[in-house]
């Protein structure tokens, strides 16, 4: 048997009240890969992510991390070594930015000085002024909050990063910059990253691999280049054609001037 994958979804399903949110998904994600998950609202992307760190338990099948079944591991310890950026950000409103970022290192019992240094480092990384450290979440803009969410996920130096629409509330310029920074960090730290996004262009530009989901199933799973070249499923083909279509429309607009 070859080296185990970083994350291995083994015909995993999750049903809520009898309706399948995720339906028999099998994916092997090798260590170091940056995977983007795209798909319509309600197609099961968040549920898929939550089964990795046991915020959701599979109804059938299982998830393995580095070959180990997560169901057999202590959920609390598991979560501390996986970074998770929540779809709704989910910052703790009663904690400052610094305390939010420091939470997992603190739970892991890091010494104070290390935590303080790490907070500064992460604020620089997500391009927030260090003076923001003492602010509370309700004193930040939506985009700034998302950046704190990313910093919090990275704080304890996880090897696996799960991001659920991490850049949704950012302006296009910051979004692109933060996307690039995250990708650079991914490469530099050798992370395995699973990122949910609605933005096909972002998926194409950042990811090594794109998984398209619909109704809890994987509709397509390939490199951006291969998927851009076309796909047998018309919905997938239409979805993947959007960046090129928009680029053409913009070009036409520019010429018409």
């Amino acid at each position: 048997m070859a080296d185990p994958s970083a994350i291995d979804f083994d015909t995993v399903s999750k049903a809520y009240a009898g309706r399948a949110a995720v339906d028999g998904v099998s994916l092997a994600i090798p260590a170091g890969q940056f995977v983007a998950v795209v798909g319509a609202s309600g197609s099961g992307k968040t549920t898929l992510l939550k089964m990795v760190n046991r915020l959701a338990e599979p109804s059938q099948g299982g998830v393995r991390i580095e070959g180990q079944d997560v169901a057999a591991q202590d959920a609390v310890q598991l979560r501390r070594r996986i970074g998770y950026v929540f779809q709704g950000v989910g910052l703790f409103p009663h904690m400052t930015v610094a305390e939010n970022i420091a939470i997992t290192p603190r739970l892991l019992g890091w010494v104070k000085a290390d935590i303080a240094a790490r907070v500064d480092e992460l604020l620089d990384l997500v391009a927030l002024p260090r003076t923001y450290a003492e602010r509370f979440p309700d004193q930040l803009s939506g985009g700034e909050r998302q950046r704190v969410g990313v910093a919090r996920a990275l704080a304890a130096r996880p090897s696996i990063l799960l991001m659920d629409e991490p850049f949704g509330a950012l302006d296009p310029i910051t979004r692109e910059a933060l996307g690039q920074a995250t990708r650079a960090l991914h490469d530099q730290l050798g992370l395995t990253t699973l990122m949910v996004t609605h933005d096909v262009q972002e998926a194409v530009l950042l990811a090594d691999r794109i998984v398209v989901m619909a109704n809890g199933k994987v509709l397509a799973d390939d490199t951006p280049r291969a998927l851009l070249a076309g796909h047998s499923d018309p919905d997938v083909a239409a979805l993947m054609a959007t960046p090129a279509r928009q680029a053409r429309a913009i070009a036409a607009l520019m010429e018409a001037r």
Binding site: V76, R79, R80, Y84, F86, F92, I103, T104, R152
Partner: protein
């Protein structure tokens, strides 16, 4: 007026200290019980509804009744613990008041605790799990701080309620600021009533503001105000704890009194004689008349004055009605044999239950005795004091004369006499030693069929003091020493509107002096 204010101020340190201690203990206990219960109820929907409903039901029980209910409950429990473990529970005073007030404090804390915890954004709770918190860490680091403002609002409500309801602990023998209110209502000392209300209200306001300061400081992470608020609350409670703790060391004679003027005066008289002997005396004023004898029996009070007829019917449960001397002799024997209680003797006057009317009305209706009243009653309203209508004496009168009134109403004794002049009652249950009978020119209706037993005022001594020579020698000179006219005068001096005197001054008017 100035004398009354000065008298009120003199009592304040003791009343306030006991009030503070009681409320603080009840609130602390209420918080300690309710917070874990809120966590349980917030997590478990199955227990949430019954728990909150139960706490809500407790709240609908009137405070006075809830406090009174704990007396028989603790008495029964005390019998069990004595049999099983050899110690008695204190059924009167601090313990019943504490338990009742704790129950009272629980609802607002419980309800706000559940609301605060269930109101937390589920996304935040999920994030707490997601960053790797254990359930306990999630509770302490995320849920508790986020629910704190709502919980704190509940604690503040509970504090105000508890401080208010603690005034009702007087009738179960726990001294509180309610002593002003209960004795003031009885003796129509409105200065006392107002003083008690103002003191309790002021205390509630201060505590509420200090709790608010703690909440404000904690919410904004201002350590100084939060610590200052906490320190002031702690210091206040500690200061209140000092006098009762010091007092607790001296074993004192405990003199009991029911809740009307004559009882306050006689308790003053008895206390005065004991203090003159150099004895330490503690007082339990304003006890409910059902509670007071059992308190004596249990040794929670040592001495008080009761009335032979009351004991005859209510304690022995006799329905017959022997002549005065025979009743007293039989009562004395029964008390000694059955209860070990000493009936020291009659003070020399009777305070009998009697029906009374205004002279004008009695004359115009031609009513002089209860027999005459039978035919007139269906057009008249009877006003009874708070317990009269449920007492066996009333049943006996009602049965013997076939009385059927158009309406029956209960009044606080003070208001009952007023009801006659205001027309709210035509006939009232008067006491034969009441000064207001002469003052208001009332007619006491004769009892030709002897339905009501005699009511000699007798001194009762608890079983554990039955052989206490100092006590018995101090009080024996009071036997036969107070004629009914003198008692009426003293009562009226306390009850009247103009130039009223304190029960202590009235006790001196009885002329038996405090010299042994």
């Amino acid at each position: 007026m100035e004398g009354q204010v000065a008298a009120a101020w003199a009592l304040l340190p003791d009343y306030l200290a006991q009030h503070v201690l009681l409320s603080a203990a009840a609130l602390a206990l209420g918080v300690a019980i309710s917070l874990p219960l809120s966590v349980l109820a917030a997590r478990n929907t199955v227990v949430r509804w019954p728990l909150v409903t139960l706490a809500g039901m407790v709240q609908t029980i009137p405070g006075l009744a809830l406090l009174a209910l704990f007396y028989p409950l603790l008495l029964a429990l005390s019998a069990v613990t004595e049999g099983a473990f050899g110690f008695k529970l204190q059924a009167l005073g601090f313990l019943p008041a504490l338990l009742a007030l704790t129950l009272y404090a629980m609802l607002p804390i419980l309800r706000n605790g559940v609301a605060g915890l269930t109101g937390i954004d589920p996304a935040v709770r999920e994030a707490a799990d997601g960053v790797g918190m254990t359930p306990a860490q999630r509770l302490l680091r995320v849920e508790a701080p986020l629910a704190a403002p709502v919980v704190m609002a509940g604690v503040r409500t509970a504090a105000v309620w508890t401080i208010g309801a603690a005034t009702l602990s007087t009738p179960v023998g726990q001294t509180s600021l309610g002593n002003y209110i209960f004795s003031g209502l009885q003796t129509e000392n409105w200065v006392f009533v107002l003083f008690g209300c103002a003191a309790a209200g002021g205390l509630a306001l201060i505590v509420d503001q200090l709790l608010g300061l703690i909440e404000w400081g904690a919410g904004r992470r201002r350590l100084l105000p939060a610590a200052a608020g906490l320190a002031l609350l702690g210091l206040g409670t500690a200061a209140a704890a000092v006098p009762p703790l010091l007092a607790a060391t001296a074993p004192a004679y405990v003199v009991g009194a029911k809740n009307f003027s004559e009882q306050y005066i006689l308790a003053e008289l008895i206390s005065g004689r004991l203090t003159a002997q150099g004895a330490d005396v503690a007082r339990r004023d304003g006890l409910g008349s059902a509670i007071v004898f059992r308190a004596l029996e249990a040794g929670e009070i040592d001495v008080y004055v009761d009335y032979s007829g009351t004991l005859w019917t209510n304690v022995i449960g006799r329905k017959d009605n022997p002549p005065r001397a025979q009743l007293l002799a039989e009562l004395t024997r029964w008390m000694k044999d059955e209860k070990g209680v000493v009936v020291l003797g009659s003070l020399g006057f009777e305070n009998a239950y009697a029906l009374a009317m205004e002279r004008k009305l009695a004359n115009s209706l031609g009513v002089a005795s209860l027999d005459d009243l039978t035919a007139r009653a269906p057009r008249l309203t009877l006003g009874g004091d708070l317990e009269f209508l449920s007492r066996p004496e009333w049943a006996a009168i009602e049965g013997a004369y076939g009385l059927r009134f158009a309406r029956e109403k209960s009044f606080n004794p003070t208001f009952m006499y007023r009801a006659l002049s205001s027309g709210d009652a035509d006939v009232i249950s008067a006491f034969s030693s009441d000064g207001r009978i002469a003052a208001q020119d009332l007619v006491v209706l004769a009892d030709p069929r002897g339905a009501v037993p005699s009511y000699d005022a007798v001194i009762l001594i608890s079983p554990r003091r039955a052989k206490d020579r100092r006590l018995i020698e101090a009080l024996t000179p009071l036997i036969g020493a107070i004629p009914v006219e003198r008692m009426r005068e003293a009562n009226y001096a306390v009850d009247r509107d103009e130039g009223k005197v304190s029960p202590a001054e009235a006790a001196r008017m009885l002329g038996v002096g405090s010299k042994p």
